[in-house]
Symmetry: C2
Subunit: 424 residues, 2 copies
């Protein structure tokens, strides 16, 4: 299939984008892409490719932007229930501790998730994946973490594997048993850290080899934060994970600076995520490294906070900067990377081009999948978007609605924009 006549083809070709190179779109006017067997075969100008492949079936991009599918490198995709009630209490002025006393907070989601059946978990997660996909996300990282006990954490992984099989949206898996201190260990956080490191992770290794043969191992992630896992416990868990062969991620500096980002660099983690209260030393460490700096601007937005990731400092330090939704039931239930881009531009002063690179090629690096996705290059998977706009800068400028017209996933075309249908 030859997709042709895009007003702007954004290839995002090349390596991860650092510093001033961030925002290199590889723009081809009147661009075209040849797709065969789920893969990208050729990329170029419409005239050239039409001449080279005259008998190929065609898809007219209709003078719209053609770009790589969004890669969302940080989501807590799977949970049961919701916390709309807690949101209402918060907006009504109730203090956080009172909300906790009223049964709110992460442990309310843990409770709902532990008691949910596999069918419920899948049924409640499926529409979130559909929303992600119809808003242009073609690959999403998905974390466990609302189990905080081996059985539930592995059940979440099992549900995610099933959802990945049924959905056109590709998932990349992360084990986040260390999302919070399990309620059973509330007076013994070190006991839970030991449990994760010494019991859960070895079991995970065995489980994965049995249940997901042939798949790359999941990431192991830790919430390094005051009231969650301190730096020493984070090091303990991540070091153990590394010795078992798992690639690493970390939640760092959402509320306090504990040094998690530098730990991520030291251990060779794929990414350090959140990065709001990040120190200059941590920024410098990220800047020299291949650990991607993943910013989650929807989290402060969702919490109505004013402080965001120091994105420009990270970019100036030559960090690989990426964006993600952080979609979760507590702080930000938003599935759309388009909104992340709009928010990132305004709150962190990114240009649309920078935010687009941070949501495609750089976010593919954050989940170590840039070998197959994140850009439109020969040999990569044919994961692309046709937007209902002719100028990429409308991404970011416009917001609140869905600018995706068609999603192309592994070469298959999905239409996601509704035509208004009158019926009875």
């Amino acid at each position: 299939m030859l997709i042709h006549s895009a007003s702007q083809l954004l290839t995002l070709a090349g390596g991860p984008q650092r510093g001033r190179a961030l925002g290199s779109l590889g723009l081809i006017e009147k661009g075209a892409v040849l797709v065969r067997d789920e893969k990208i075969i050729a990329v170029g100008a419409t005239d050239e490719l039409k001449n080279a492949y005259p008998d190929e079936p065609t898809l007219d991009a209709g003078h719209c932007v053609l770009m790589p599918g969004f890669v969302d490198p940080h989501s807590h995709l799977i949970w049961a229930g919701d916390r709309a009630n807690e949101f209402e209490m918060k907006m009504g002025g109730m203090a956080y501790l009172d909300i906790l006393a009223a049964g709110g907070g992460i442990l309310s989601t843990v409770k709902a998730t532990r008691t949910a059946s596999m069918e419920t978990l899948i049924a409640q997660t499926r529409p979130r994946m559909l929303r992600m996909f119809s808003h242009g996300t073609t690959t999403a990282e998905a974390k466990t973490g609302y189990g905080l006990q081996t059985s539930t954490e592995l059940r979440l992984l099992k549900a995610l594997l099933a959802l990945n099989d049924e959905s056109p949206l590709d998932l990349v898996f992360t084990f986040l048993g260390a999302h919070a201190i399990a309620p059973e260990y509330k007076d013994d956080p070190q006991g839970y850290a030991d449990e994760v490191a010494n019991t859960m992770l070895p079991m995970l290794k065995e489980w994965w080899e049995t249940h997901a043969p042939g798949l790359r191992p999941p990431f192991v992630d830790v919430f390094c934060e005051t009231k969650a896992f301190n730096l020493k416990q984070s090091r303990q868990i991540l070091s153990q994970a590394r010795s078992l062969g798992f690639p690493l991620k970390i939640h760092a500096d959402e509320f306090d600076n504990l040094g998690g980002a530098s730990l991520a660099v030291e251990l060779g983690a794929a990414s350090a995520d959140h990065l709001v209260k990040t120190s200059d030393a941590d920024i410098a460490a990220l800047g020299k490294s291949d650990t991607v700096a993943v910013s989650l601007p929807c989290t402060p937005f969702g919490l109505a906070e004013c402080r965001y990731t120091p994105a420009r400092k990270l970019i100036d330090a030559d960090a690989i900067f990426a964006l993600a939704t952080d979609c979760n039931p507590g702080t930000t239930w938003n599935e759309s990377m388009q909104f992340v881009i709009a928010l990132a531009c305004r709150t962190m002063k990114l240009t649309p081009a920078e935010a687009i690179a941070a949501s495609t090629i750089n976010s593919a690096h954050a989940i170590r999948r840039a070998d197959t996705i994140g850009s439109i290059e020969v040999g990569k998977q044919a994961d692309m978007l046709i937007l209902s706009i002719s100028d990429y800068r409308q991404l970011g400028y416009r917001y609140g609605t869905n600018l995706v017209k068609q999603v192309i996933k592994r070469g298959q075309v999905y239409v996601t924009v509704p035509n208004l249908v009158k019926n009875a």
Copy 2:
């Protein structure tokens, strides 16, 4: 048609909601609504209405929220071109005056709009109306204002009348010849104020009677702001409009406090809009009045500013508080009232219930259409939404995507949520 089995039917019944009454949803669990000939005939519990109307065709609301359609009481719906380029320059750090020097700002939209054909204006505005409608807005106010000369201003009105005829979205019209000082009068702002008051408005009256016989007269609106129309000029224009029989609106206190809100109250305007830098005296004046206080939180959000309408002060002063998109090409291109609600909750500390009332019954009052729309009450127009959620508090809590499943407009059912369609 009997729409039944809503998990929550929000009627929003009764008058405009002031003070502590704001957020009175009139919630009926397992609610139902009987619709005939575009009108609401009965409202109640599903069991009761099913017994009373056993032979009525039915529409199962599927345990979802059923509520009035959103009323968007402030939009600059019609313009030509876009300012994505300007957005990129702004995010890239260029100063406002440099952007103006590079041809940006409102006058660039005026230039594009003046030279656009009627067909272009309609073709570019139509998809915005579709986005509004598919996100649940069933009535929107639409302003002229990118003409700043009689011929173009009237052409915009003519295009809006045509769009209103073809679309299921109902428009309410506003003449905003006084949106900015026309470029021809840049050294003589009083000259342009005189032109609007003494030439445009009388011509508008005659034009409307010829081109829109039987329709209610349009609102007349003024941008009362530093570098636009001062308080005296605003009074001149609005007083003349009132003497010609037009209902009034005003843009007040977006950037500076000139006293526009109190002027609106004094002249009996339907609404005063923006209200960011509003003084305590102005808040007190609005509090005692029937002039609706319309907040446009997307405007500071779009501009990446931190200061929003002092909503809680206005509510505490017993003002009638409403929300709107302000959709326009310069500061905020967002068509979705759902996003306005999500933003209003977070930035102005509204509960979801308060934001819903401000987007339905109170916003209907802001455009003086509460006699026919804004709530689900016997005799009103059947403008309603079925949301894809079972708890109204998910509005606001969730954001970035579209939670509308079906739009019911004058009794007709429109499906707007996409089913993912795989095609080639």
